[in-house]
């Protein structure tokens, strides 16, 4: 490990409060550290600074020194060093701290500047908050409560601009609401590297649009909706569906790849309406891929499994567990377990205990696609590293279950426990599936669940809590956003019951209990409890696995070990 060098600290004074901040911090961020809010629209911590909205204008000054001797000039009235205040307000976003910088964010000049900008922003704005999706999370609404006039001096006609431009398959633009902050343009150019947005026309008639013949259709297009401070850019998927203030926010993790982008799941009364990224500067900054935002649709998919089944007939969990126990008993030493890189760390730990109780070999199925270098990594399993950390597997999985297939053909395996994996997709033929009794735990229907003797429906990532280990070996937790469907069993409960059915020692089937066992069994997790796991995750030691040929290439905040050597 390379120790992070101690950053050069600079002491600044913000509204009378002294604070030491790292060199290069801008005034907005410095003020945030002393809980002083500097309103802004165009500034975004992860984008370049353009300083065009002028909302963050604040008063600044530097300690006075004698030009000749460089000796401080003392103000006789206060006995302190005199401050030379700059007569014009300065932008907080574009001003980096310098030693001794003094900032006033509440002076009359600042208030006047903010109120002026606020009024200007609203004169040509349609003020259609009652039908606007951004209402409730709109910076224009928020700041106008603080700096708005309360009545309008504007009696002229407002500018007319295009109202519903489909910028791409997932993003709709209302140009009249746009305040021309250019965040979306900068995002497309700087982060998504897909420079398709720009302004046409001039002055107040400036209009956001796509370049002719281009579309905003890259896999990150919905981030522009997230960072739009007003309701100009809206998501085609979420538009007109729900008022944001009705929605409950639950922290979660994007499961589409091993990046493990931090997310927020927005739900109401058991229904998820959208997924947005959650800031984690070490993982995904403030971004996530569009593909991860539609994953909630699996919750209410038509092929969702919602009833315990035995031989295709609806049954109950107790009966299913008993049937499994009988199958285990009838085939001693001939059981195989297929775990999953999509299961949580806790589930993988119980899967391991199940395999141990059955003395069964464990296989995982790998899913490798192409990484995009940003937030979609090559490994499409969110938690292969969890399986390594818990010891469920020791080597990286392959995409085909060839070993299991051979064992079935040789008659060495007669029962297969499949945890959320479609065995036929992993290379088993229908004939091979027919030869064995499959006990399937999973969320959705497919060839394997159809062929299974015992089916126990389980929960999607949105319906349970747990942890994943991402490509950086960062342990990150996700929380239950909505209850699971009637008929589905929590994965941990189901696995714990199966461990018991396999004759193993009694294991806890709840999160707290599993974590107690995990801490005892896995030294790397010795000090961790689910409750004390930070929101930003916990970096585990990757060294024991450094020799493994992981599939991931470079992505945001991740460089594969191979690339550094």
């Amino acid at each position: 490990m390379i120790a992070t060098p101690k950053p050069d600290l600079v002491t600044v004074n913000i509204d009378g409060k002294e604070i030491a901040v790292p060199k290069g911090t801008n005034v907005i961020e410095a003020a945030r550290l002393v809980n002083v809010d500097v309103p802004h629209y165009c500034y975004h911590p992860k984008l370049s600074v353009v300083g065009n909205c002028r909302m963050c204008l604040i008063e600044m000054g530097m300690p006075a020194v004698d030009p000749a001797t460089k000796a401080p000039i003392i103000d006789p009235a206060t006995g302190k060093q005199k401050i030379n205040w700059i007569p014009r307000p300065q932008i907080g976003c574009g001003t980096n701290v310098s030693p001794g910088l003094h900032v006033k964010t509440t002076s009359p000049m600042v208030k006047d500047a903010r109120e002026g900008v606020m009024e200007f922003l609203l004169i040509n704005h349609p003020l259609d908050c009652p039908i606007c999706d951004q209402a409730g999370e709109c910076k224009l609404q928020e700041q106008s409560t603080g700096y708005g006039r309360g009545y309008s001096r504007f009696i002229e006609q407002k500018n007319v601009k295009p109202k519903r431009t489909q910028l791409g398959p997932r993003v709709v633009l209302d140009d009249e609401r746009c305040i021309l902050c250019s965040r979306c343009i900068r995002f497309s150019k700087e982060v998504a590297k897909d420079d398709v947005l720009g302004f046409i026309d001039r002055g107040s008639y400036s209009t956001l649009t796509c370049y002719p013949g281009k579309e905003l259709k890259n896999n990150y297009s919905l981030n522009t909706v997230d960072i739009c401070p007003v309701g100009a850019l809206t998501s085609t998927d979420f538009r007109f569906k729900m008022r944001v203030w009705f929605l409950k926010q639950t922290n979660s993790i994007d499961t589409e790849t091993s990046v493990g982008a931090n997310t927020v799941v927005w739900s109401r009364e058991g229904v998820i309406y959208r997924i947005t990224p959650r800031r984690n500067d070490a993982v995904n900054d403030t971004w996530m891929a569009d593909s991860g935002r539609v994953l909630y649709k699996q919750v209410q998919a038509a092929d969702r499994l919602t009833a315990v089944q035995i031989n295709g007939n609806d049954s109950a969990l107790d009966i299913a567990v008993n049937t499994a126990a009988e199958l285990f008993k009838a085939a001693p030493g001939a059981v195989a377990v297929v775990g999953s890189g999509r299961s949580s760390v806790e589930e993988q730990f119980l899967t391991k205990q199940l395999a141990a109780a059955l003395k069964a070999p464990v296989a995982l199925v790998s899913r490798v696609g192409e990484g995009d270098g940003l937030l979609v990594s090559a490994d499409r399993n969110p938690n292969v590293r969890g399986a390594l950390v818990t010891g469920l597997i020791a080597a990286l999985p392959s995409s085909q279950l060839t070993g299991l297939a051979a064992d079935i053909d040789a008659g060495k395996v007669r029962v297969v426990v499949a945890v959320n994996e479609d065995l036929s997709a992993a290379g088993l033929t229908a004939a091979q599936l027919a030869k064995v009794s499959v006990i399937y735990l999973g969320t959705h229907r497919h060839a394997t669940s159809d062929a299974a003797k015992v089916v126990i429906p389980t929960l999607t990532v949105f319906e349970k809590s747990g942890t994943f280990v991402n490509q950086q070996f960062r342990l990150q937790k996700f929380l239950k956003a909505i209850p699971g469907p009637v008929g589905a069993t929590d994965d941990l409960t189901a696995l714990a019951r199966l461990v018991a059915a396999a004759g193993g020692s009694t294991v806890a089937g709840d999160l707290t209990g599993v974590w107690k066992a995990l801490a005892a069994a896995v030294p790397a997790l010795g000090a961790v409890t689910f409750a004390n796991l930070p929101e930003t995750g916990l970096l585990l030691d990757a060294a024991p696995f450094a020799a493994l040929p992981f599939a991931e290439g470079e992505t945001l905040h991740y460089r594969p070990a191979a690339a550094t050597t």
Binding site: P89, G116, V117, F120, L121, R153, G203
Partner: protein, 452 residues
Amino acid sequence: MPAPEQRRIIFQHIDEPGYSNDLACYVRHGGYEVLKKAVTRPPAELIDEVKKSGLRGRGGAGFPCGVKWGLVDRKSGKPIYLIVNADESEPGTFKDRYIIHQDPHQLIEGTMISCFANNVQQAYIYIRGEFPHGARILEKALAEARAAGFVGKNICGTNYSCDIFVHRGAGAYICGEETGLIESLEGKRANPRIKPPYFPAVLGLYQCPTIVNNVETLCHVKYIAEHGGEAFAKIGTPNNTGTRIFCVSGHVQRPGYYEFPAGTITMGQLLYEVCGGPLPGRKFKAVIPGGSSAKILRFGERFKGKRKVGADLVDYDWGVEDVPMDFDSLAMIGTMGGSGGVIVMDDSVNMVEALANINAFYSHESCGQCTPCREGSLWMKKITTRMVHGQARAEDAALLKGVADQIPGRTICAFGEACSWPTQSFLAKFGDEFKQYPETKKTKAADSRALV
């Protein structure tokens, strides 16, 4: 006191019968002799001459040229660019186009000397989009100069090489703002850059140190290289050295361009004696002294205060006619010398309508980047247009002032000042006229022309 004689340095050959804009004519009149001598001198010496001359930029801001050159980052190892700002767009200004049209080689020579002084290997002439003819003339002149060895490789037989390219502007006022110009030259929208960090002297064109000088400024450099900085400093008055070109337009008998030693002529001398006074039967009402963004002056108002003459502070009590036409005096009375575009209005002008015209221009030319200028300029335009063409209200005067006061000092570039100063000053000087406008309209002649 009679007006001083014109002293034409820059406009020496403008409108001279028989003088053409080709190289042969320029050389016949001693052209490129200064460049030939300059390239044999140490560049630092030339920079020193410019510093000694006290030359102030003629584009509008009046920033000392020597200081500007002194700020250039010469240690970065990056190439240094020089850009000739020929985007003459300030309404009321028409000096650079005459240099370009009638004496382009003077500009090229001045540019080459400045390039040599600053070790520039590549220069651009950013010419206003609406000057296609000027661009063609410059292209032709550059080709001639290149063929003659004054531009391009091995200038005048030395090891020094520097080429000049003509770039036609994007047809927008804001392209004349130096950082907007740089963006435009890079092929982008001319959105001015934030300073800090993008000072042209450090992070200019292609993030390299860049000098942006006005056409007239560079022509002065040629004169300075020829006669020395001290000789130049003797022309005009201290801190306002050299000559100034005044482009007088509007309601005078003889509008046109006039070149005088800076600070030696007063507004009254210029308008009454040089330009022949008001049209028959009219009286001067107001004058904008430095391009339409400069604050307007009302004939009849008095300016009092103390000013420095030599080492002493002297009381002054000026009417508009008494103001010396130099940067400092005009700044003292709350306006500016700007680009030298003097716009004269007589008593036939209604100030609300005049302002409506100015506001229409600035709202059309705002780049749209910063909120106050983008929204404020259009709002002011909408108000004044409504006053003229629709319903005028007595309270509009206060509203206009309220809007204008929210703009200057809060934007990235000086356009915020440019678009709000006219409204602020019109209101300050002619507020009564704005308040009475609803009444004025009722008695307006039916055949009075509609505004654009």
